[in-house]
């Protein structure tokens, strides 16, 4: 019922835009086919995608739109076949290095001209995430901030403030541990959550630029600066800041520790807010703060971007381009990222952000306080093989911090092999 409601409100919102005719004016009528394969398979994103296809179809009645929605996890392996055999016209994927294999294999269409000739107004800020080899390979449609979500009521009970420096963070954590709780919930069974912690600790300890150098393989993992990052991390591990047995939980399973009040905070993306609310936490019980400063570097943030691309083998590229233009337009961005649709941040600078406590804080943080730069995420910024070796090492470090030398040697070995 709930998802049906969501679906219909999203569809209504989009239909209203379509009906206003603001779009139809500037665009030529399209005809022919448009085949879309989307991985927006969760209930809310699915409704958004179906709404997008329906409304785009309403704008162009002669256009025959064929929409296939596939499971998000399954798509990660299916995309290879989809791009080579009988390629559709538009597909979903992720920004930054995750595009790398397909760009290198020549399977993504170069759409630099759309950025250059002003077809995509308002997308200047996110252009970087779509750039590889100096060209742009797709458009983003949504992104979300990462940060520390915490139990406001427990902070109030213990008399804690949102920390701004790492010392304050550690002091807070000590008080939380003393009160018999854990500071941070985390579930590392699927590894990537540990990547988030490393991203932040490394960006705060050594700065955004250093983090990107590491991602590009220009710095050795055994470098003293990397060790400093791990030394900071170890402070939290040694004081018992993380929940026990986190290697056995997925991020959703670990969420229970926070909703039960056994852990007070969670470093995670904005997608965790909905399950927190579903678990019964009110907005007066959860709040958000930016990962505190460690060394005096401009703050960098993780804000993973989800994207649309045109396969190089697509047959209806003009229609596909029109669709990308439609998806990224300010009005559509406002509608599909609103709280009752995707509930994330719009990529178009001219869009408005939904009146949601976390979306507003996240937008404010990314617009004004991410002066270092915006990273995608550990598994999107690092090449795939490095990311998988790396995240396994990060998880091991969180359980057995004494193995650090061995882990770093292994990562350095992988680095020398992977970046050529």
């Amino acid at each position: 019922m709930r998802s049906f409601f969501k679906a219909s409100t999203a569809a209504l919102g989009l239909a209203a835009i379509a009906a206003s005719g603001a779009f139809a004016d500037g665009h030529a009528k399209l005809s022919g086919d448009l085949r879309i394969i989307s991985d927006m398979s969760n209930p809310a994103p699915r409704a958004v995608m179906e709404g997008l296809a329906a409304d785009f179809g309403a704008l162009h009645p002669d256009l025959n739109i064929e929409l296939d929605i596939v499971d998000r996890e399954a798509w990660k392996t299916q995309i290879r076949n989809a791009l080579t055999a009988n390629a559709p016209d538009v597909i979903n994927w992720y920004a930054a290095n995750r595009m790398g294999p397909y760009v290198n294999a020549g399977l993504f269409e170069d759409i630099s001209d759309m950025y250059a000739n002003g077809d995509l107004p308002g997308l200047e800020a996110v252009k970087g995430a779509m750039t590889l080899d100096g060209k742009q390979w797709g458009v983003p449609y949504t992104y979300y901030q990462w940060g520390i979500y915490y139990r406001e009521d427990i902070f109030n009970e213990l008399g804690l403030e949102e920390p701004e420096t790492f010392e304050q963070e550690l002091a807070n954590c000590q008080k939380i541990v003393d009160s018999g709780r854990k500071c941070y919930a985390i579930g590392t069974k699927f590894l990537w959550t540990a990547g988030g912690w490393f991203d932040y600790l490394n960006m705060r300890t050594n700065g955004f630029d250093f983090h990107m150098q590491l991602a590009r393989g220009e710095v050795e993992w055994t470098d003293d600066r990397v060790r400093e990052t791990f030394a900071n991390w170890r402070k939290i591990i040694d004081m018992g800041g993380y929940i026990d047995d986190h290697q056995s939980y997925s991020w959703q399973e670990a969420l229970k520790f926070m909703t039960d009040g056994e852990a007070t905070a969670y470093l995670i993306g904005n997608f965790a807010v909905a399950p927190m609310r579903d678990a019964g936490l009110g907005d007066d019980q959860i709040d958000f703060y930016q990962f505190p400063m460690i060394n005096d570097h401009p703050m960098g943030e993780d804000a993973p971007t989800d994207t649309f691309h045109i396969p190089a083998n697509a047959t209806n590229k003009d229609n596909a381009r029109a669709f990308l233009q439609y998806v990224t337009s300010a009005e559509v961005q406002t509608a599909i990222n609103s709280g009752d649709a995707l509930g994330q941040l719009p990529v178009n600078a001219n869009s408005s952000v939904d009146a949601d406590e976390f979306l507003e804080q996240g937008f404010e943080m990314l617009s004004n306080n991410a002066t270092g730069g915006v990273a995608q995420f550990f598994d999107r910024d690092f090449p795939a093989e490095m990311a998988s070796v790396g995240m396994e090492g990060l998880q091991e470090f969180m359980v057995f911090p004494d193995n650090l030398d061995d882990i770093l040697a292994r990562l350095e070995d992988a680095r020398q092999r992977i970046y050529k």
Partner: protein
Amino acid sequence: MTDMVSPPIPPQRSRGWYKRNEIAVTPWLFLLPGILFFAVYVIIPIFQSFWISFHEWDGLGEKVWVGTGNYERLLGGDRKFEVSFWNNIKWLFLYLLAIPAGLFIALLLNQTVRGIRLYKSMFFFPFVLSQVVVGLVFSWFYLPREGLLNAILGVVGAGPVNILGDPTLATYGIIAAGLWPQTAYCMILYLTGLNAVDPEQIEAARLDGAKGWKMLWYVVLPQLRPATFIAFVVTIIGALRSFDLISVMTNGGPFGSTRVLSFYMFEESLSEFGFRMGYGAAIAVVLFFIMLFFIAYFLYSMYRDEKGAR
């Protein structure tokens, strides 16, 4: 021969080639679709894997010939490979426990008691479950705090253990989960075997004063040899292709300590971060030869038995 044939026959001599060779050709015609599919989906891919394993290939772009490079890296100290290999060995030996366990349950259930069919089906039940379900059930059983295992241990007074989160225990935990359905499988094999045990031999042995262990060892077990053989084959092959339980219960973790070769191969070439088709193919080839070793041995002993029986 033809000289002997009487005159009316010559017109028939011109019947078609097929008619003349019908007996020899027909079985092949029936086998043809099977052979074709087996070749296309099994034999040819095996050789393709060999071919790919000599390349570096991301599955999308051009293949780059690296010769034996993948094998040198694999066998020259790849820690993930070593972990996977030793885990495979652990699986191989511990999984065999399913055979005595299955025999024990089969002997227990091989009696005429009211409602025995119900008991038999309950013991057979885990084999009907999908491996994914078995994996899920056991991962709940092992859960560090809420799991039944720790509840039981708590009653006894033993401390909580996180079996799937402990790199030294996780593999054993998964094997234990795998033994549950595999024991049921072996049990059913032995139950059918026990049906075929000759009652006269039992009677004769009893007259000679054999009972208990002696009866089992010298009279019953030899008659169960065919069942034991099949149980060995399916258990060893089952152990070597263990994949789904690992994928469901730990996803190879914690930090890769529960990988086996098949899972490592999947990770390298087909998973979310896998873009090393060549390396994955090299792992697959190594696993293929390990399996081939066992299968060749089994085929050989089967051949020997058949010859002996003749």
